[in-house]
């Protein structure tokens, strides 16, 4: 068994503490905001100068001057603020953002992360990915555990150009939650129906098993029959 994309996002949302300031990357991370418990205040940041971003705007109610970094029309929650790019990236690079949740192509055992150049991509683009990976207090990665070809994305050494070295704190996949620690990767949770050995089999570097390692406690609606395609 494994998790849906929503399941991965749900796990991240559960781990974001009240009062935290969070930047969500494109892909699975954008789903995170939808799973934050209603009674928990978490503040979402957008690189283009918004703090306190709410859900996407309802069709017909878009404000043309309020978009997120993915250029979607979004809303502002009460208490939101707007500012310019230098201020926005001061929040990121200055270590004020508590959590950056980013998609990744590869994560290495030492926390190196690659997410800005896909193998086939001929025109490079980096956007705010590096600033986030270098600047946020905690970088959480969400991704499928393996590539479409079934190869591990958690590797001994990244083969793709790095976004930032040694930046990842925790990895959320459709199979597991893994911490990056100075002593290496530590398996904290595995998807329902799996066991540590099954996760290790699809993970290149050796996993240490956390003393309190356990099967995920996650609602059935987030269970998937197979590994989620990328």
């Amino acid at each position: 068994m494994s998790l849906t994309r929503e399941g991965i996002a749900y796990l991240v949302a559960c781990d974001l503490p009240e009062g935290s300031y969070v930047n969500l990357g494109i892909g699975i991370p954008t789903l995170v905001s939808g799973f934050v418990p209603a009674d928990r205040e978490v503040f979402f940041h957008s690189e283009n100068g918004i703090l306190g971003m709410g859900p996407l705007a309802e069709p017909g109610h878009e404000d043309p001057d309020i978009i997120n970094a993915g250029k979607q029309y979004v809303t502002l929650l009460p208490g939101a603020s707007v500012f310019d790019h230098p201020t926005s990236f001061s929040m990121i690079r200055g270590g004020h953002i508590n959590y950056a949740v980013l998609g990744a192509l590869e994560v290495a055992a030492n926390g190196d992360m690659a997410n800005w150049r896909t193998p086939g991509e001929k025109v490079p683009g980096v956007g705010g990915a590096m600033d986030l990976a270098f600047g946020a207090q905690n970088v959480f990665v969400t991704m499928t555990h393996v590539t479409n070809k079934g190869k591990p994305k958690i590797v001994n050494k990244c083969s793709l150009p790095l976004t930032a070295p040694r930046c990842v704190k925790r990895i959320y996949t459709d199979m597991a939650v893994i911490d990056v620690t100075p002593e290496g990767l530590v398996l904290r949770e595995f998807a329902p129906g799996l066991d540590p050995e099954a996760v290790q089999k699809l993970t290149e570097p050796p996993l240490r098993i956390a003393p309190d390692c356990k099967e995920m406690d996650i609602p059935a609606k987030f269970h998937a029959a197979q590994l989620t395609p990328r």
């Binding site: 283009n48 978009i67 250029k71 707007v82 790019h85 690079r93 705010g128 990915a129 270098f134």
Partner: protein, 233 residues
């Protein structure tokens, strides 16, 4: 009496010369001076270096300028935005140069130019491909990359309201690159939704003081330019 207003964007772009470096404000649609870009297309200057977060979209505005072969070089963080086909095509043909800069570094380099600094050290990109060939330095135990200021000959921005003194006010997420870009060029022109009398803008609501601005043009928003420039992150 000081009067920085002009009737048309055409007049605002007359001075642009071949080979000029142009800071182009906006991120997505908010704050993008679409009519200035259309005027620039008509004006004809070529071999331009354009500084913008993305590469524009389709064959309009920045995308159009690139499509017309008028841009020698793009300095951007995300030129592979969806829909930015003209740039991508020309880039793969080797017909346009690219300087790829992380978004925060791009904003900070422009700010440094406006602030009169000679350069700065940023942690972003240290130890990655984008730091190759750049000076690095370990400061208090962390590795940093040296980055130089990025000046423009011209900056074109879009604001919400303005007065004849060049004071600019932005709505919501319009500030983005416009605030630092308006500080960093020899000649700065803004297209704005509305011109108001001097004194109508509260001193606390002026995000770009007139000292930074040379020319202002009132351009009622055209729905066309709210659609065509959409780009991804």
């Amino acid at each position: 009496m000081v009067n920085k207003t002009l009737a048309t964007c055409r007049e605002a772009v007359t001075g642009v010369f071949d080979g000029a470096t142009i800071l182009l404000g906006g991120f997505g649609d908010p704050g993008l001076p679409g009519q200035m870009l259309e005027a620039l297309r008509e004006q004809g200057a070529k071999d331009l270096t354009m500084v913008h977060n993305g590469s524009g979209g389709g064959t309009h505005a920045l995308g159009g300028l690139i499509h017309d072969g008028r841009v020698r070089k793009l300095i951007a963080s995300f030129p592979n935005n969806p829909g930015g086909s003209s740039f991508q095509e020309l880039y793969l043909k080797g017909q346009i140069e690219l300087e790829l800069v992380p978004q925060g570094t791009l904003a900070e380099r422009i700010r440094a130019a406006g602030a009169g600094l000679g350069g700065f050290f940023t942690p972003t990109a240290a130890g990655t491909e984008l730091a190759k060939g750049k000076e690095t330095r370990v400061i208090d135990g962390r590795e940093y990359v040296f980055e130089k200021p990025l000046h423009g000959d011209f900056a074109f921005v879009r604001a919400h309201r303005a007065d004849r003194l060049g004071n600019l006010n932005y709505r919501m997420a319009m500030r983005n690159f416009n605030v630092p870009m308006a500080m960093a060029a020899k000649f700065v022109a803004a297209e704005v939704d509305e011109l108001v009398p001097v004194g109508d803008l509260d001193p606390e609501d002026i995000h770009t003081p007139g000292i930074f601005v040379d020319r202002v043009v009132e351009v009622v928003r055209h729905p066309k330019y709210l659609e065509i420039t959409t780009e991804g992150r």
